[in-house]
Symmetry: C2
Amino acid sequence: MTAIRVCDVGPRDGLQNEPGEVPVEAKIALVEALAEAGVPEVEVGSFVDPRRVPRMADTPEVFRRVRRRSGTVYSALVPNLRGAEAALESSADKLAVFASASESFSRRNVNASIAETLARFAPVMELASSRRVPVRAYLSCAFGCPDEGAISPSVVARLSGELLSMGAAEVDVSDTIGVAVPRDVEAVLDAIGPVVPRERTVMHFHDTRGTAVANAWTAIRGGVTILDACCGGLGGCPFAPGATGNLATEDLLYLCERSGVSTGVRLDGVAAAASAISAVLGRRLPSRVLAAIVAAGDCGGPSVHRQDSGAGSSR
Amino acid sequence: MTAIRVCDVGPRDGLQNEPGEVPVEAKIALVEALAEAGVPEVEVGSFVDPRRVPRMADTPEVFRRVRRRSGTVYSALVPNLRGAEAALESSADKLAVFASASESFSRRNVNASIAETLARFAPVMELASSRRVPVRAYLSCAFGCPDEGAISPSVVARLSGELLSMGAAEVDVSDTIGVAVPRDVEAVLDAIGPVVPRERTVMHFHDTRGTAVANAWTAIRGGVTILDACCGGLGGCPFAPGATGNLATEDLLYLCERSGVSTGVRLDGVAAAASAISAVLGRRLPSRVLAAIVAAGDCGGPSVHRQDSGAGSSR
């Protein structure tokens, strides 16, 4: 039986662009509920300039107050050495750095060229290595850039190789603006295959154009065993407010459960976590599966779970 | 280059369960806008008991008043001979009958066994054949039933064969409650392969659990060349109010455009049609691509189309 590892990036990627305040208690509850549901890795927050990303200013407090579950990995995004030091002070189990496959997106997002960004990571990698803390390297806009349009898979492969050789434990190939289709996923997997071992390849999809589940399935079929997702489908593209967010963890879990792919995560636990944060944010979240669960509960109709069990039992 | 034929079932499957009144003018405008966008086949409405499906009571008027575009197929759902006669009186180009792959769903939905339903179709097929009007046969709940759970692909294959041998021009294998995942699509395609030629196989997905695009892609990869969709992602499952609706035409078109699959349909035209009906219904529709287009327009950010062109041009 195939198994994948789900990393829920909801507390970080899902909440970083929230327009309104999110109480720290709600974030702590979210991280704890996700871990409790069996999510093996949770990206808790980021140690970035609070003037640039005010929603992440309380990440140290979230780290300090979360009751940790044994075996769960609690990771943090860091932009530079200073952020890495702060994350390690908060006992983050894993660091994540953030490069872009698009030169113009890199300049727009972090005000630095790709080469400058990579140079900033060198001391982060060194520090992490000295503490035996693994580093994930995001490669954003790997499937397209709002400014440049298409990004060549060969560029993705070259940068992925550089990130690995700098010491990254895994490369997270990210469709930041949600343009990819399965054919793109196959092209990128083909291109990075000789450079990044599959077990160190992570993929990160946004559902901006409805293709996230299809892309995730293509990635799983292509041998990828680590996938990012956001409970409820939190998040979104900062360049398209109102558009749909990340691949929803619930949607990924449903796909996996019904496809015989093991995740070790309880869908109902994630849905409960998403419902709680949805209530805090005061709006519905975009996950289709979450909506189906809520609708079934509302109307007393057949539940997703009953349907799932029925379907599963006769396979 | 692969090409598929899109049938927009929005005016029928998308609107039949609307709780509120939909003005006949809005329906006419919708059908005309879809045809204008290049959709080759539009399911205009159904000739059913208006007490059971009040939203379709004006189907004769829609047929009478729609300005027809040469080359577009305007079809109608009919439950029995009487409905077929009425549809032909309205000059429907194609009839659609509706059987279920689930015995209990059949009884719940049309108060008849599967065998009784098929028997009702015989005179419909005869009449249609005498007028040289093709008949589509829906096979609902082909991937799962709210009561029975799993449906065996071999049952789908047997019933599909019966429908073809009765005279159906095509069988429309439908995931009525939106439970299927790509593996199910492959299993059904394998099972019906020896019975239904691929060019007479239609697939119809609902996005209730976020898998519709993934399933559509699996169907296209599996050789299916006719797919149903609903502009805006209209519709839904009558047993889960609030849950997501049909595969959105916009989402299917985006997938196809970026994957090099030709449809002959203009995405912006369908999105405009969906936006118009969305305004009439007074709510946002679930299509992800429609939301991205609206968001890009709202914020003046990079449009889906600019992104599309960029991505397409360098392929």
